[in-house]
């Protein structure tokens, strides 16, 4: 059963009641909200995601709701909560949706130490994955969105989730939060992409959420093997450049971009070493998706052939 099987009314009732139980890749979530505007958008953008039955244990119990007490009468605000705690200052109620999406990512990044978590976009084709480790603003979400709408399967635009047992990458194909200029770039590049409304003046500028293609969401339980490490950097007007990178440098950049390298100690060292050993490593500078996507396709086809 998926979210789309619920009527808007039933969806809202679950959110306001015991909670809506959703599966995002390896994580089970229970989401609550008493905000009608949030429910409407969530019903639309979460449509293809699998629902879980009420007996399923949840990894995180999250909520986005109006504040309790007198505060709710003075300002229209939305508070993100997880397991009964409210770790962030309230958001304006108009930003409830991105607030919940960020909150879920925060839960994953701070509470999933059974996995090595690389700060990396990840896409897959023919069972082989590209990792795009990068800092915020380097264009990994834009690149992942473009690839996911060009025949690649999105694993995640934000997390390279590495399973310690076998080094496989676990998919977490959540909504992709595009920021600022990237929103128009993707609208032009793939007009058919499902993109939610633009939220203006958020803590990260203007944000709009892209729903990954259905294939990526349907195959969210299929892991993939790392094959390429590509460190992207979007530079306005720069010519396309894809250059081999020394593995020692790749190791440092992957380890320093991980969310929990320090937490996992030797396990993290062994996993990052194995990824670097088994991947071809490149740096990528791009300004035009119409150059970058065919070049990455060709890289994949050449290696596969």
């Amino acid at each position: 059963m998926i979210v789309g099987d619920l009527s808007r009314r039933e969806f809202g009732t679950r959110l306001a009641g015991d909670g809506l139980r959703l599966q995002f890749g390896p994580f089970n979530l229970c989401i609550r909200s008493n905000l009608d505007s949030f429910a409407s958008l969530a019903h639309r953008l979460y449509t293809p995601y699998p629902l879980l039955d009420e007996e399923t244990l949840s990894d995180f119990h999250v909520e986005i709701r109006s504040p309790r007490g007198l505060h709710r009468w003075f300002r229209r605000q939305a508070c993100f909560g997880v397991d009964g705690q409210t770790p962030f200052a309230p958001y304006t109620v108009e930003h409830a949706f991105p607030a919940l999406e960020w909150g879920i990512n925060w839960c994953v990044a701070t509470r999933s130490h059974h996995l090595l978590m690389l700060h990396s976009g990840t896409v897959e084709r023919n069972g082989q994955a590209i990792l795009f480790p990068a800092s915020p603003g380097d264009g990994k979400s834009t690149l992942c969105t473009a690839l996911a709408h060009s025949g690649w399967r999105l694993l995640s635009d934000e997390f390279g989730l590495v399973r310690p047992e076998d080094g496989m990458l676990l998919p977490l194909p959540r909504l992709i939060p595009l920021k600022n200029e990237s929103i128009e770039v993707i609208r032009r590049f793939r007009p058919e992409a499902t993109i939610g409304p633009s939220f203006l003046d958020t803590r990260k500028g203007t944000v709009a959420h892209v729903r990954p293609p259905l294939e990526s969401i349907r195959r969210a339980q299929e892991p993939a093997r790392p094959r390429w490490l590509i460190f992207p950097r979007w530079v306005a007007g720069a010519p396309f450049a894809l250059e081999a990178m020394p593995k020692s440098q790749a190791f440092l950049m992957v380890a320093s971009n991980a969310f929990n390298y320090d937490v996992l100690d030797e396990t993290a060292f062994r996993l990052v070493s194995e990824i670097v050993r088994s991947c071809d490593c490149y740096s990528l500078v791009y300004s035009d998706l119409n150059e970058a996507i065919p070049a990455l396709d060709e890289l994949c086809n050449t290696m596969a052939g």
């Binding site: 593995k247 020692s248 440092l252 380890a255 390298y261 100690d265 030797e266 060292f269």
Partner: protein, 119 residues
């Protein structure tokens, strides 16, 4: 960068005075190191401190050359030069002293008055 990831820098103008005590040996911590060798660098995990280090060729070779018995600094420098494939005295004294200092700080080598006291 994670706090437990350290990269070796060039000594630059730092003054690395060699110690007057000149016998060197590996510590027990060195035995547990996990090594990766890429390009001309060594990426090394030290379980005793949960730190990851990046060593250049000189530092990596020093550890490789230190066997079971203690060596004088001169003997170790000679062996390191041979391992690196450079001629005698070609390895810069400052670079060598800096590498020794770093390995001592990390607890991977120690200096001994009496070479027979080596582990």
């Amino acid at each position: 960068m994670p706090s437990r990831l350290t990269v070796q820098e060039h000594p630059g103008d730092q003054l690395c005075e060699p110690s007057p005590i000149s016998y060197l040996t590996k510590t027990a911590a060195e035995a547990g190191l996990i090594w990766e060798n890429w390009d001309d660098l060594f990426v090394v995990y030290q379980p005793s401190s949960a730190e990851t280090h990046v060593f250049n060729e000189t530092t990596g070779s020093i550890l490789e050359c230190l066997g079971e018995s203690a060596l004088s600094a001169d003997e170790l420098k000679n062996q390191t030069e041979a391992a690196l494939g450079v001629s005698q005295s070609e390895l810069d004294d400052t670079d060598f002293a800096f590498a020794l200092q770093r390995l001592e700080e990390l607890g991977l080598i120690e200096r001994l008055d009496d070479p027979s006291a080596a582990q």
